[in-house]
């Protein structure tokens, strides 16, 4: 059989439907300022940021096998960069978002060299300690409020756009754009050689090395991209919150544990997982948050329940059951002379 007799396909029918669906959804969301309420916009921004954080974490843990419980380091870093640049350099907060991404990428490189020496659980704890170090260092920066925290001056916020409405729209669109860019980048990355290398490393690092995969560089690329993305989202989140303090900016619960909840509930190692997980998370929060302690109690129970009943997450369960895949990454070989796909 000759070389021409095969072809390799990525997509399935459900994935083509999926892509069309996403395009439609994007158009609808982009137009949200014209049909949604102010409160909906704000909620959507929050949802976008969680989808982005979860997708980035999923890239790191689910694809690169780097289970980090310290991504709050970059959320906080991005946020502090935004506050620092906006307050002291007078830069428009909107522009500080990409700068936060860049600076964090640079900072992530030496951090990676340190924590890449650790494996598995040690890596997880190591990332957490690094985030603690970031938090404690932030608490030592007096001009940014030290341990007390600081608010973004009202003038800085109002300078973003002329009217309150324009400002809200602008932030909404930035959030949407950031999410689309991050998701797009992840899909592209995973469909590229890097995606292959990542899956290989996750499955068997020794074998990957022996097959010519530069393991360290591949992981580094993913780590740095994740750090940059997480930092930009962090900056955006705190542009919405207007106030920062080390405990909040580097909160392990909020920016990592809940994110892990989301990814695992949705389905880890699948691109759809973080989206499904975020929807579930927000549904729970919107319906139950006013119950206070009971709400958190129930959140814990849901997380444990999903983990025990559907360990591959909700999307994993559905995908296995019905063979759905919205973003297929597998490369299937088909024979040209065989039955049509």
């Amino acid at each position: 059989m000759g070389a021409a007799a095969i072809r390799v396909v990525h997509s399935t029918r459900s994935s083509r439907i999926g892509v069309a669906g996403f395009a439609l959804l994007f158009v609808m969301l982009a137009a949200a300022p014209f049909w949604a309420e102010r409160s909906d916009l704000r909620l959507l921004v929050e949802i976008f940021t969680y989808v982005a954080l979860a997708s980035l974490w999923n890239l790191l843990a689910g694809y690169a096998g780097l289970v980090s419980v310290g991504q709050q380091a970059y959320v906080g870093l991005g946020a502090y960069i935004l506050f620092g640049l906006a307050i002291f350099a007078g830069i428009n907060p909107v522009w500080t978002i990409p700068i936060a991404g860049l600076i964090s990428a640079v900072i992530a490189i030496p951090v990676a060299f340190l924590i890449f020496r650790l494996r598995g659980h040690y890596f997880a704890i190591g990332t957490w300690v690094v985030a603690e170090v970031f938090r404690l260092l932030a608490a030592q920066i007096g001009p940014l409020g030290g341990g007390s925290g600081i608010s973004l001056p009202v003038a800085t916020v109002t300078a973003i756009a002329e009217t309150r409405q324009m400002r809200e729209f602008l932030i909404y669109w930035i959030a949407l754009a950031l999410l689309v860019v991050i998701l797009g980048l992840i899909v592209m990355l995973l469909r590229s050689r890097y995606g292959l290398a990542l899956t290989a490393i996750r499955d068997n690092e020794t074998a990957a090395l022996s097959n010519g995969v530069n393991v360290t560089r591949t992981k580094l690329v993913v780590y740095v991209i994740t750090a940059a993305g997480t930092a930009m989202i962090g900056a955006l989140i705190f542009l919405q919150k207007l106030r920062i303090s080390p405990d909040v900016a580097f909160s392990v619960n909020e920016w990592t544990a809940f994110v892990i909840f989301i990814v695992v509930i949705g389905g880890v190692g699948r691109l759809e997982g973080p989206i499904i997980g975020t929807i579930v998370f927000f549904l729970l929060r919107e319906t139950l948050a006013d119950l206070g302690a009971l709400y958190l109690l129930m959140l814990g129970i849901v997380a444990i329940g999903v983990m025990l009943k559907a360990p591959k997450g909700i999307w994993g369960y559905v995908a296995d059951r019905f063979g759905w895949e919205l973003f297929p990454l597998a490369r299937r070989v088909e024979r040209r002379d065989g039955p049509p796909p």
Binding site: M1, A3, A4, I6, R7, V8, S192, R193, L196, A197, T199, A200, R202, D203, N204, T206, A207, A208, L209, S210, N211, G212, V213, N214, V215, A330, R331, R332, V333
Partner: protein, 242 residues
């Protein structure tokens, strides 16, 4: 003919166990070399030294005229050293075909699309084409061993290190494997093969070395080496009356 691989004064020990004590070895281009030795002699470890997963205590490894002693495994692979693992190490979450694509794309440093056809060809040669879209984790032992071999081939090696690829195969399967390795040889790839299934080994190799106690205690013509009393005593164990 020039040596493609030389080991110069390699020493390696794990605590009190001496794997290699100032070992020298030269493998000629195009040669098929067999390595035997008692269990635990250090054969697999030697492969680790050659591929870069096990750092030697001293000595140097030269491949294709370059000192590679300090290079990481992935770089050595791209230079043309490929190995199969004694205990198969598939990328379990990927399909068989993707396993090959990884090896071909990264082992040769080529783009993914360029290696599709080639990867599929190798799968056919190794008898895995029918299972191309199956997850590698679902393969049986035989197929895993085939996959090991196929992946090593996909990196387009100059030097192929095989670690007990015939173990656990039936006679029939073993014969097919021997044919395949012979074919590979014909394409000019140098082969170093560790095997306990001696008859399979003898069917392929030109030269046999015996590793024992940290040194090559015998080497040369396979038939002669295998019949030598020393090798019989420590390795074959054929009783005198047989």
């Amino acid at each position: 003919m020039a040596s493609i691989l030389t080991l110069d004064g390699i020493s390696k020990r794990f605590g009190a166990i001496v794997i290699a004590n100032d070992v020298d070895l030269a493998v000629k281009k195009g040669e098929a070399l067999g390595i035997i030795g008692p269990n635990g002699a250090g054969k697999t470890t030697l492969f680790g030294v050659i591929t870069g997963t096990v750092p030697p205590d001293s000595g140097c490894v030269t491949f294709d005229g370059r000192d590679v002693t300090r290079l990481p495994p992935d770089q050595r692979c791209r230079m043309g050293i490929a190995r199969s693992f004694q205990i198969p190490q598939p990328f379990g979450g990927m399909t068989v075909f993707e396993n090959l694509v990884v090896a071909a794309a990264f082992g040769q440093g080529r783009s993914e699309h360029d290696v599709y056809a080639q990867s599929h060809d190798i799968l056919e040669r190794c008898g895995l084409a029918a299972k191309a879209n199956r997850p590698a984790s679902s393969l049986t032992l035989l197929d895993r061993k085939r996959l090991e071999l196929a992946r090593a081939l996909a990196t387009a090696p100059q030097l192929l290190l095989l670690d007990e690829v015939a173990g656990g195969l039936t006679e029939h399967e073993c014969e097919a494997l021997v044919d395949l390795i012979r074919d590979i040889r014909k394409t000019g790839i140098t082969i170093v093969w560790i095997e306990h299934i001696v008859h399979a080994l003898l069917a392929v190799i030109d030269r046999l070395v015996v590793l024992h106690g940290g040194a090559f205690i015998a080497q040369g013509d396979p038939q002669e080496v295998i019949r030598s009393p020393q090798v019989n005593e420590i390795y074959m164990g054929i009783p005198a009356d047989a």
